[in-house]
Every structure is written in C-alpha cells, then in structure tokens.
C-alpha cells in the first residue's frame, strides 16, 4: 500500500461517490457544503495525522491497545475504532460490503484507526448500508477521535444515508480508504 497521498485519496473518494450517486438534489446540497467550506475542516485529509506517529502503548488509545485483526464480527476489530451501530459483517454483509437488498451510502464520515499487526494508521470510511430497518446485530459504539455534531464528519451518531434511495439505516461498514501516514 502506498503512503498517504492527498490526491489519490481525493480521487478514490470521488470515484466512489461518482459510482454511487446520480441524484441532482443531493449534489446541490453537497455543493452547499463545499461552498460553505471555510468553517468545514477539509476532510478526510485533516484527519491524516489524527492518530499521531508514536505507536508505543503509552501513545495508543485504550481501543488501539486492545484491538485485534482476526474477527470482523467483534467490536474490538481494529477498523471499528470509531464505529457506531450494527456491524454489517454480522448482518449478511462484510466489513466493507452491504447485506443483500441494501445500498451503501456514497458519503460517510472518516475515522483513523491503527492496525496492530503493522502499527500503521489507516483512514476508515464508516459507510452506512441503507434501505431497510436496523439489522440489530452486533451493536458497537467505539469513540476514538469521535467528536460532536458541529463536526458531523467526525461524529458517529449521524445517519449517513445521504444520496441513497432510502435513508433508513440498516448497518455500518468500515471501508479501508488508505494509509494515513
């Protein structure tokens, strides 16, 4: 995996967005966000250094010290450092894929999690799967670097089913976007 690259990351996110969205009203609204950018921190770029560079236990959060890489159906799986909701991997989907009949949100908020196997930090997009009632399995609520609603892109309570045909929340995935540093 390449080192963190702002352009590549931007392209990756845009490709994903373009592939999933065709709704003019949503784009108009997103445009309003971009226009309103001065008070909106640039993301997810601004999160690249959020986890710091020190990987000693003294510098890791409690979640990062105890995270594992084997079982993505458990809340302590390393990518879930800031997830809130039902794990799609317990609902017929996967860690980065939606269960049958649901639709991935084209936008998401972004966390920064440390992989304990290589001690590197990665940007994780917490994309919701949308269109059905809550899955109700494997509920997790991890809060590393999770902030409040005035920074919605770093808040794990917001339902991110924007631009999907239904905003009903089903479950959450943790899509690996790229290495943070």
């Amino acid at each position: 995996m390449s080192r963190f690259n702002m352009d590549a990351l931007g392209e990756k996110l845009l490709r994903s967005f373009a592939g999933n969205s065709s709704r003019r009203s949503f784009l108009t609204k997103l445009g309003a966000v971009i226009v309103a950018a001065p008070v909106f921190p640039l993301l997810p770029v601004s999160r690249a250094n959020a986890a710091g560079k020190d990987r000693t236990p003294e510098a890791k959060t409690a979640f990062a010290r105890n995270a594992q890489t084997k079982d993505d159906k458990k809340c302590d799986y390393w990518r879930y450092c800031a997830i809130d909701g039902s794990l799609c991997s317990c609902c017929g989907g996967g860690v980065s894929s939606c269960p049958a009949g649901t639709e991935p949100s084209p936008v998401s908020w972004v966390g920064t999690c440390i992989n304990p196997d290589n001690n590197k930090a990665y940007l994780i997009a917490y994309r919701d799967c949308c269109g059905k009632a809550g899955c109700g399995q494997c509920g997790c609520d991890n809060t590393d670097r999770e902030t409040q609603l005035y920074m919605p892109q770093l808040n794990n309570n917001v339902i991110w089913c924007f631009g999907t045909s239904s905003m009903e929340y089903h479950c959450s995935t943790a899509v690996l976007v790229g290495e943070a540093q």
């Binding site: 309003a32 809060t143 409040q148 919605p152």
Partner: protein, 404 residues
C-alpha cells in the same frame, strides 16, 4: 383539502359506516342474550355495564418525566416521578426529537417518516400534540431535518414558546425556524459548521461551531444576521458536549468538555463566555487529560448533565476511564455547586446511567435512564434517596417540563 385527504376521509367514513352497522348488530345480539338470561335489575356483585372512554392526562406537575424508550421501542413514556406510574405515551418514531412547550400547552415532535415505512416519499414535520389530551393538534411540514437518534439540542423552543428551531443536515447544515403560533415554517437559516442550538430571548438562537466559536443568529430582520464569538474551545481535541444545558431563568448555557472543563455563557446578541474550571479539580482530583493511559474520572453519556436553576447545582454523570470514553455511561453523579465551583457530593449510581435530568421545582427529582433492560431511576435531587425504580421505564433522552 387535497383530493388525497378527501379520498382518505371518504374511505374512513365508509369504514365507519360498516363499523356502525356491525355495532348495531352487536347491540342486537346483546339485547337478545339479555332477553334470554333476564339479568337482575341490580347485579349482586355490583358489576355494571361499562362504556369505554379515553383518559385525559391529570394536571401537570413538575415531577413528570418524559423518557424515551430503546432503539427497538422508541416511544416516549410519561412517568409521574412521585408515584412511579405511567401516565401516557407520546408517539416518537426512531428518527424524532421531542420538545416541550415552555408554556406547557403542547408537546412537539419533530420527526421523519417515509410513506412506505423504509421507502417512498420522505416526510419531515413537527407534530403538535395537546399536552392534556395527547391528541394530535396539527402537523407543520419541514423541508428536511437531520436523521439521527434523539438528541436534546436538535429541536429547541424559544422562551415565549412561539418559535421552534429544528436542526437540518442534508449534509449541509441549516436550522428550520418554525412559527409555532401560525404553525408554519418561518425561514431556513444556513449555518455551516455549527449545530446544537439554544434559544436566545429577543435575539433568535445560538449554536456551537467546529471552529471553536459560538454562532449567534439574530432573527426578525429581512435576513438573519450571523455573528461568531471568539474561539473558546478546541472542537477536535477537547470538544464541548453538544448536549449542553440551558438555564432559561438566567439566560445562560452551561458547557462541559470531554476532559471535564465546565464554563458558562451568558446568552445574548453578544454572548459572554465565562472562564473554564475543571470538574475533577473541583472535586480535589487532578484535572482530566487527553493522554492515553491517564485513567481519571471523566464525564460521559449522551445526556450527561442537568442543571437545577434556582440552586445552581449541576449534576454530571462521571465514569472511570481514559480520554475518548465520552459515551461511557456514568458510574457516579457529581453535584457541582456552580457558585462555589466545588463538587459538593459524589453519588454512586445503581447499575449505570447515560442520561440525567433534574426537575426545576423546590423539591427537585433526578431522572436517570440507561440502566440494564431500560430500568429508569428517580432520585431525590437533594438527599439522593432513591424514590422509584421503573422497569422498562426508558433508555434514552429525558425531557422535562420546565419551572414549577
């Protein structure tokens, strides 16, 4: 009236006619049965035929608690904190926020549904319920609103009860200003990077912003005028909890950060932000820190503090943990005297709690939710004696009528 509603009404009337015919048939059947058994004029057991009816709520007392149910069972139950009895239920769907009229005449629910449950046409509106009958009085359409589990500062009401502020996120942030007297949307204020409102008497409202400022929106002119305070908190490093509390009587907001810094803001066209103090230091402990492995008492939960206006007592849910445990439910209630800036009492919570609220009368009660299996607790806010333990009482946000 639209064709659709007329059709609906005609259909309903048709059904009613059917029911009426069935009812008459039922009455005839009863009459026939009575004729056969010839019951005594007075039943020896004192049992009398009954007519079903619907209750109204009793007179409102300051000790009512509106407790949101769980994710699976999201209605809001009204409990009498004195008797522990359930009085009624307010219809609150999963994606809704409840707000209580400061004048106590109405109960407002801002919510979002779809015509076909999980799909179809999206509908955003404020439902207006009579606070005596709980009957629906009106619905006020909204252009949209944030979809999120219930939070206590996404729908707030002005002190005079005339204006509601409903947060919208599309994902551009804005606030729907709702005229609750005329029952219609008054305006939409774009408010990028800000959320979690508090009404400001005579001005409009304020909100917290990601640049560490508080925005104040002055309404009443041709266009809203938005001003920002100087930055006073670090939104990513040590955020202020967006479920901060509002003291209507004093026109103040009380803020709390993840590490435990408390400060007030005197609300107004130009809010005056107070100096911060550490809740841990106020209890004689070292202040909270952001460093990993620094285990301390930290504030946490989804509605982690409550303020009793007359006594200036702030009640905060605290747990042991490191930084980034901001949603951890409380193990103790810390009572902070806001005048002396001292923690005057630490009270262990039976089980744990993620939500706390306190009534505003002279004999205040504390409501707590978040315990296992939705058990809610009611405590005396002065002695902390447990008054009620209500099984399946509620799991989420607590709303209370204000004042006596």
């Amino acid at each position: 009236m639209t064709n659709a509603t007329m059709k609906t009404k005609r259909r309903a009337f048709g059904r009613l006619q059917g029911l009426a015919l069935a009812g008459v048939a039922g009455l005839l059947a009863v009459g026939s049965a009575q004729a056969q058994t010839t019951p005594p004029a007075g039943d020896p057991n004192g049992l009398q035929p009954e007519e079903p009816y619907t209750h109204k709520l009793p007179a409102i007392t300051p000790h009512w608690g509106f407790l949101r149910g769980s994710w699976e069972n999201p209605g809001t139950r009204i409990w009498d904190g004195d008797s522990g009895k359930m009085l009624g239920l307010v219809q609150t769907t999963r994606w809704s926020d409840l707000a209580l009229d400061p004048k106590k005449k109405f109960i407002y629910v801002a919510e979002t549904i779809w015509t076909k449950i999980n799909r179809g046409t999206r509908q955003d509106y404020v439902a207006v319920y009579d606070s005596n009958t709980l009957n629906l009085v009106s619905e006020i359409p909204l252009p949209g609103r944030l979809i999120i589990g219930a939070m206590n500062n996404n729908f707030v009401i002005s002190d005079d009860g005339k204006t509601g502020f409903v947060y919208n996120f599309s994902p551009a942030a804005s606030v729907n200003v709702v005229d609750l007297e005329k029952r219609k949307l008054a305006s939409v204020v774009e408010l990028p990077g800000c959320s979690s409102m508090v009404p400001v008497a005579g001005v409009g409202f304020s909100a917290l912003c990601s640049d560490g400022t508080m925005a104040t929106v002055k309404l009443g002119g041709k266009t809203p005028v938005i001003t920002h305070s100087a930055p006073f908190f670090k939104a990513a490093e040590d955020p202020i909890f967006d479920s901060y509390v509002h003291d209507r009587a004093k026109g103040e907001a009380v803020f709390l950060t993840y590490t435990g810094l408390i400060r007030t803001a005197k609300l107004g066209a130009e809010p005056v932000i107070g100096e911060a103090f550490s809740i841990q230091a106020a209890a004689g402990l070292r202040p909270g820190d952001t460093k990993p492995l620094d285990i301390n008492w930290m504030p946490g939960g989804r509605q982690m503090m409550a303020l009793h206006s007359k006594t200036g007592m702030l009640y905060v849910l605290m747990h042991r943990g490191e930084y980034w445990t901001q949603k951890e439910e409380g193990e103790e209630i810390w009572a902070v005297n806001m005048a002396t800036r001292k923690v005057v009492k630490r009270v262990p919570i039976k089980d744990h709690a993620g939500h706390i609220a306190v009534t505003q009368d002279d004999k205040p009660l504390i409501f707590l939710t978040g315990g296992d299996e939705g058990t809610a607790l009611v405590l005396d806010a002065v002695t902390f004696e447990q008054k009620q333990e209500i099984k399946r009482g509620g799991s989420g946000i607590i709303s209370l009528f204000e004042g006596n």
